[in-house]
Point group: C2
């Protein structure tokens, strides 16, 4: 019965947004007015693997659990819709902690006009939060997959990279970035990643040929695009835009800053390929979404990812940093 | 990289069914052609809480994890569509075990023409499987909630109850049900519950006013309908249809058989309320789906659930059996 009370308390802090949701929490399933295409993903964060309650507040965990799926929708160019949340809670975790987690998730949901339309709360041996996020599109032409990159396209990333990894290093007690503002920014980027929904839709509408969100790190996610598109991605490592303070934190903890930015995950920026005639529109779309866009390289015939050093030499050996 | 190999192996055993799924595994999100209304739910099973690997094979766990959500769709009268799966795997669990789990889930997906269209595989401190299931309907009139029961309606359950609880008792080493066939049936009902999708759609089309699936047990789930509909449900406990062997197993382990059937969960049958003029159609719908339908009571003005004993007396005190 304590579980039912917790569920009621969670219901009490959620809001239904927009006109889509016909039935939600309280029935066997939620009922939502659909657009022509649903765009759906599920993502999971687990304590001890994706976060620690010593460095992440429950609200941070809830925010991040939703941000992952929204970032996937951003990479498809979809409109965000509803989310469905599973909370697996260990006995040791109090109800207040679970509510706090849901408050953090609802905070991001409100910001992105998402309704948390359903969920499940169970006991488990570990804190595990799964979030299925459903977005919508009116036609296939609105959406962008990983498989559309073609030789001759240019490749770019939104935003600046390495912030999340540097923020995590700071949370874990690594030195560097003494200036308070910089430190706070980096930590915030790790704890409260911002899905690039507006930029994703704008880039899709501008004519992007492929897109992926940077959840596993640019080096890994670029390989996904190369493999799925059947092309080679050639990226200039020296042009990777670093977030302010990343260089300092990386060096203080013995990492190469650009390697950190290339291989550490959780930045939730977008890697996008664009046919040259559409590049001006892509730049406008990013500017409209108030997000920097940095051209990093080109798509070539072939397979896989090639990273170029400052003198155009091919970089190898990127096993230096493994993101926890 | 072992995780990527596991994901590829999982992809290899999944099939795309029907014409709805435009993009699936391999992109940031799956893209599905929608009907007018999406009907979505998420459910989670955790080791040590909802199953033990000593009594449940990984394939049983996968089957059950999908069956829960499909049963929710059945209770709404929705058509089954796609499922999205999150596997949180402890270090101790091998890749073969995870694949076996997905094979069990795919077995049920094939049977119900469901596509496992996306998923996430992560490490975690415990084995936790979350499944978001998306169904479809063309109009609100096709669907049935928990809130539509009205005084004068009759109440019925599909199938026979108590089988899952008795099966679990047998798996846990309780005596009873010596005859092999009966024992196997009860254990099968626990390990491989069958969502009543055809019956749910048929009952909804026949004019059911409210419906719920029996996941928490009839006594609890009937209360959900009563509360959401703002009515009193009056059910005759003596008329609850018991599965073959439940009486024997319950008595051998010191439980009252009917109390077991009323309070133990996981039967995944449907409790339905029907306005009297539509009762013949409801009976026909159940017969068409090859599922028994047993009339158990009526809807009255008031609130909550009233269980009647064999002489019409009101039963109280149902704390006797708590389902693990």
């Amino acid at each position: 019965l304590r579980e039912l009370e917790l569920i009621e308390a969670i219901e009490g802090l959620l809001a239904r947004r927009g006109e889509r949701v016909v039935r939600w929490i309280g029935d066997d399933a939620a009922v939502v007015r659909a657009a022509a295409l649903s765009v759906t993903t599920i993502d999971t964060v687990a304590e001890g693997v994706h976060f620690e309650l010593s460095t992440h507040s429950p609200a941070d965990v809830g925010w991040k659990a939703l941000a992952q799926g929204l970032s996937d929708l951003a990479a498809m160019g979809a409109r965000a819709g509803e989310a469905y949340v599973s909370l697996a809670l260990p006995q040791t975790l109090g109800a207040e902690c679970a509510l706090e987690l849901m408050r953090g998730m609802e905070e991001l949901a409100e910001r992105e006009s998402v309704t948390l339309a359903g969920g499940d709360v169970v006991r488990a041996g570990a804190l595990v939060v799964s979030t299925a996020v459903c977005g919508w599109a009116d036609s296939e032409e609105e959406l962008v997959g990983r498989d559309g990159a073609r030789p001759g396209d240019r490749a770019a990333v939104t935003g600046v990279l390495g912030a999340s990894a540097a923020g995590l290093l700071l949370l874990q007690g690594e030195p560097g970035a003494q200036r308070g503002g910089v430190r706070d920014d980096l930590v915030e980027r790790h704890l409260r990643p911002e899905p690039r929904l507006a930029a994703g839709r704008g880039l899709a509408a501008a004519g992007a040929s492929a897109m992926v969100d940077l959840s596993d790190g640019l080096a890994t996610d670029a390989r996904h695009v190369a493999r799925r598109s059947g092309v080679e991605l050639v990226l200039r490592a020296a042009d990777v835009p670093l977030a302010r303070g990343v260089e300092e934190v990386a060096r203080a903890s013995g990492h190469d800053p650009r390697e950190l930015a290339l291989t550490a995950g959780d930045d939730y920026e977008l890697l996008v390929t664009v046919p040259p005639p559409r590049c001006p529109q892509a730049e406008e779309a990013a500017a409209s979404a108030d997000v920097p866009l940095t051209w990093l390289g080109e798509v070539a015939p072939g397979r896989g990812l090639v990273l170029l050093g400052p003198d155009g030499q091919i970089l190898t050996g990127f096993a230096g940093y493994e993101h926890a």
